[in-house]
């Protein structure tokens, strides 16, 4: 119970910081839009509509991956400026509450981005979802959490490294590859309507499993990472 209150404090603080600057989320929205445009120009979905459908799942997730990586890096930079992080380390509240609060805040941001992005994406890539579109409402949050929880963790891990910004993708990408595979397969499956529901179910279950396992591990090890020297 007290733990939840700590988490809430951290979450509120993060949301407030974000609200103060606000433009970081605007920037992220615009960034994702740009990524979609870049991909569209690079891959030319208009001339190959079936191909567009096949690769759109991949493009969506790769775009979100890049966008959220930038945001994740940012979110810890704030803590590091002025060595606030040391104040956090000196605080008696459980370290993992800080982590959970921040992961939740990040999750909220990325979900917001997705809500705005979805329609644009569908329009730009001229997609008709052939499968059961509702499933996407399950796949997107699960996939996002998979990215966000690991991303928040490893952004913290890389905090004191010299090339922080570059380090995060380097650790996060290989680690998330299985999750990316699941998300992309499930999403493409829904969009193309090619996969049968059972297979999609399998992907989703696996994704949920991935989320649970990694969330547990992250929470368990966060204190160690925070106090690593």
């Amino acid at each position: 119970m007290k733990y939840a209150r700590y988490v809430l404090d951290h979450l509120k603080k993060d949301l407030r910081l974000e609200w103060r600057s606000r433009d970081s989320i605007n920037g992220m929205l615009f960034f994702v839009l740009l990524v979609v445009v870049v991909f569209a120009i690079a891959f030319d979905p208009a001339s190959y509509p079936t191909m567009a459908r096949q690769i759109s799942g991949g493009i969506l997730w790769v775009g979100l991956l890049f966008a959220s990586m930038t945001a994740l890096n940012q979110s810890w930079t704030r803590e590091q400026r002025n060595q606030v992080l040391e104040a956090q380390r000196m605080a008696p509240s459980p370290a993992s509450a800080l982590f959970v609060g921040k992961a939740l805040a990040n999750m909220i941001f990325v979900l917001l981005v997705e809500v705005v992005l979805g329609p644009i994406f569908i329009v730009f890539f001229n997609l008709h979802v052939l499968g059961n579109a509702w499933l996407l409402a399950l796949i997107l949050p699960l996939g996002t959490w998979a990215l966000v929880v690991n991303g928040t963790f490893f952004a913290a891990l890389g905090l004191r490294a010299r090339n922080r910004e570059l380090l995060l993708p380097l650790i996060l990408l290989p680690l998330s590859l299985p999750a990316v595979l699941m998300m992309v397969q499930a999403t493409s499956g829904v969009i193309t309507g090619d996969l049968d529901p059972i297979q999609i179910r399998t992907w989703i279950t696996q994704l949920a499993g991935f989320d649970i396992i990694y969330t547990t591990v992250c929470v368990l090890f966060f204190e160690t990472v925070l106090n690593a020297e």
């Binding site: 445009v37 120009i41 979905p45 208009a46 329009v123 001229n126």
Partner: protein, 244 residues
């Protein structure tokens, strides 16, 4: 009459004229102009879509002219530079607005005409990039540290203005789904003369509207700048009274 009331009267007169022209244009476009052969009434979006497209390409040049003026006056005459900066913001915002309306009306047109909202063809892509460029300009203005906003955004404006023709050139050879240029195109280009009055009226009306918006936004920005200066002056003067 002092200067501000002259300006105010002019603005009201201008607004009235704009409304008149737009109303006339609306009548022409919707009720008078002949129905198009293949697309039917749908084609009437043309009278709104094309003027916005054309104007969206004109306003960026106001923006870059103002930005260059800003860079020139920055050290020589800071007060003039501030006005130039205000004009630059105003025209950039109106550019975003007009390009946005062109995009939106085009998409509304495309859905029934082509059956899809969006296609990656040269015209559409061009317009989208134009819009993106000026959105990024506005974002830079918000992100940049106080005191440097003017300079940084003016430099970006120059880059953006150079980019606009490049986009047009580079995408010219791309596959296209959008109607070929009607004006000044090949031999069989040109619209039915009966459509011309509607088109010209709308073009004029929206141009006047755009200029009015720029003027209004300019005045607003000037007012903000003046208020800021005022506050700063107050800050200085207040301190001068404190005993030394």
């Amino acid at each position: 009459m002092d200067r501000s009331s002259i300006i105010r009267t002019t603005a009201w007169l201008w607004l009235a004229a704009t409304v008149v022209v737009l109303v006339l244009g609306f009548r022409q476009a919707i009720f008078v102009a002949p129905m198009e052969a293949t697309m039917g009434n749908l084609q009437r979006i043309f009278y709104y879509h094309v003027p916005h497209a054309i104007l969206g390409l004109v306003f960026p040049y106001i923006n870059v002219a103002a930005s260059l003026a800003f860079l020139y006056w920055r050290r020589r005459d800071p007060l003039k530079a501030l006005s130039a900066d205000a004009l630059a913001v105003a025209s950039a915002e109106v550019t975003v607005l007009f390009a946005g309306i062109c995009l939106a009306s085009g998409m509304l047109w495309g859905k029934p005409a082509w059956g899809i909202w969006w296609a990656w063809d040269a015209r559409l892509t061009t317009e989208l990039i134009l819009w993106l460029l000026y959105v990024s300009y506005l974002l830079l203005r918000r992100f940049s540290p106080t005191g440097q906003t003017g300079v940084l955004s003016a430099v970006l404006a120059v880059f953006a203005a150079i980019d606009v023709p490049i986009i047009y050139m580079s995408i010219h050879w791309w596959r296209t789904q959008h109607p070929a240029p009607v004006f000044g195109g090949g031999a069989d280009s040109g619209v039915d003369p009966a459509m011309m009055p509607a088109f010209l009226l709308n073009l004029a009306g929206w141009a006047m509207w755009g200029l009015l918006l720029i003027g209004f936004r300019f005045a607003l920005e000037r007012r903000r700048q003046l208020a800021e200066q005022e506050a700063a002056l107050l800050a200085i003067e207040a301190s001068l009274e404190t005993p030394q």
